[in-house]
């Protein structure tokens, strides 16, 4: 069975039709909603292309923070990916709230990297112009709603 073009390519083609062909013909009142449709399609297409890679990277980073690297305890290897990421994030959340990670550079670097990785999936254009970690802040707008 042929899966060419693949799912992400199909979604991106559909989105291009929406943006390049249809949008101009739509009344002004409908354009905002059409852009939202395009946004949703773009998020889905990037998730398909990513194929869980971002989640896997997050698990590895979190596991390293807790010395749970694959092969060390075996725990993360046996656990479904989403369960492992959620469990480790709850752990980190509890530690932060309890004051056990105050100003912790390793935790901060991990959180920044994970936020950037998630942003790359949902809204990558807002990453452009943002400086790399280390060059602290005040570069790019947050691109809010409405």
């Amino acid at each position: 069975m042929s899966n060419k073009p693949d799912d992400a390519t199909l979604l991106n083609l559909a989105r291009r039709v929406l943006h390049d062909d249809l949008l101009a013909d739509l009344p002004e009142a409908a354009r905002y909603r059409a852009r939202m449709v395009g946004n949703a399609m773009a998020i889905a297409a990037r998730a398909i292309t990513d194929g869980g890679h971002t989640r896997e990277a997050e698990r590895k980073a979190l596991a390293a923070l807790y010395d749970e690297a694959p092969g060390s305890t075996g725990r993360v290897d046996a656990e479904p990916l989403d369960d492992a990421v959620t469990r480790l994030n709850w752990w980190l959340t509890a530690e932060i709230r309890a004051g056990r990670r105050d100003g912790d550079a390793q935790a901060h670097a991990l959180l920044v990297e994970c936020a950037r990785a998630r942003l790359r999936l949902v809204n990558p254009k807002t990453l452009r112009g943002r400086k790399e970690q280390g060059d602290v802040h005040r570069t790019n707008p947050v691109n809010p709603k409405g």
């Binding site: 449709v37 994030n89 959340t93 990670r101 105050d102 935790a107 936020a115 790019n140 947050v142 709603k145």
Partner: protein
């Protein structure tokens, strides 16, 4: 012929009777009613009403505001919002004149209130992008500073606002606690936001003045026409709090609509905004407090966005806009919070 759209059409005699009685008129006839675009939390209807007799005689353009089928946890009821709106009006804040509150379920089946219609553009990205709107931008920022100062003259205890709770133990720690409660209710770990909340807990400014704060005072929530400000909108998040929190929300990076260089709401530098606020209030703007509340602003908006996404995920209100809000904004808000609170900025620990 009258044009009354949607479910309001089924309520005509009761609504007209309420309007005429409230206006002290002999009759009120609804000529037009159509929904206005706007809040995910409320429904707003534009009404054209023909009154006969007394002060409202003639055709009046009004806005009816009622609850949408669902609402978020943090917002006031319409009756409470009306009380806040009225208090702001009496304090001289530029708002649409609030007219009548109706709590009788026999009229619409929901609580609603009516205000005069004010025209203008509110959409944040348009206000920021279109320099023909809002008149001179520096003057607009100064005016908004003055408006905020007038709102902040309202202090507890206030006879009409006894339903608003005082922040415990202080506004900053209360905000931290509230965000944590909401995050816990959402049921997914957000360690990036937790990092920011812990920083806010550790670096909270000492308790200070408590005034009526709008809590969503930003570009996108005021209306302008060609000459300037026409109304401050959306009072449903108002509460007692730190006056500097409203300034921080207004200046927060997430409300600059692609004009990060214009730190006062994407329309001007901070200078005219602060100047207007200081001149009207006689209070000094405390930049450290404002900076603190800017960090909190990004956390709070992220939590609200997550709540909106969760409403759609749970099927409470299936909406592409709410769903996208929950996915699009939190990661960048989180990143902004993390960048504003690097390890070097953790003091006294």
């Amino acid at each position: 012929m009258s044009v009354v759209e949607g479910w309001l059409a089924d309520t005509l005699p009761a609504l007209e009777s309420f309007l005429s009685k409230s206006a002290g008129a002999q009759t009120a006839r609804l000529i037009e009613a159509r929904p206005l675009s706007g809040g995910a939390i409320q429904e707003n209807w534009l009404l054209a009403v023909d009154f006969t007799g007394e002060a409202f005689d003639g055709r009046q353009a009004l806005v009816l505001r009622t609850d949408a089928p669902t609402a978020v946890a943090a917002s006031l009821s319409r009756a409470q919002e009306f009380a806040v709106h009225l208090a702001a009006w009496k304090a001289g804040v530029t708002v649409a004149e609030p007219l009548w509150l109706c709590e009788d379920p026999a009229v619409l089946g929901r609580v609603f209130y009516v205000m005069r219609r004010v025209t203008g553009e509110a959409l944040g990205r348009r206000v920021v992008a279109d320099n023909d709107l809002g008149g001179d931008r520096s003057a607009l920022a100064e005016r908004l500073g003055r408006e905020l100062a007038r709102l902040h003259t309202i202090t507890p205890p206030h006879p009409g606002l006894s339903f608003l709770e005082m922040p415990e133990p202080d506004a900053a720690h209360a905000a931290v606690t509230t965000c944590r409660v909401y995050l816990d209710a959402l049921g997914n770990p957000r360690p990036g936001l937790e990092w920011g909340l812990r920083w806010c807990e550790m670096h909270a400014p000492p308790p200070g003045e408590v005034v009526l704060v709008h809590q969503d005072f930003r570009t996108g929530n005021y209306m302008v026409d060609d000459s300037g400000l026409t109304a401050i909108l959306d009072w449903e998040f108002s509460t007692w709090g730190d006056p500097m929190s409203d300034l921080g929300w207004f200046c927060a990076k997430c409300w600059r609509f692609s004009r990060d260089d214009l730190e006062a709401g994407g329309i001007a530098t901070r200078e005219p905004f602060y100047r207007g606020y200081e001149a009207e209030s006689g209070r000094r703007v405390d930049p450290d407090r404002v900076a603190y509340w800017e960090v909190m602003a990004h956390i709070r908006w992220a939590v609200i966005a997550l709540q909106q996404g969760a409403r759609t995920a749970a099927g409470d209100e299936v909406s592409l806009e709410l769903g996208l809000t929950g996915r699009l904004f939190p990661p960048e808000l989180e990143l902004t919070v993390l960048e504003a609170t690097p390890p070097a900025n953790w003091t006294d620990i």
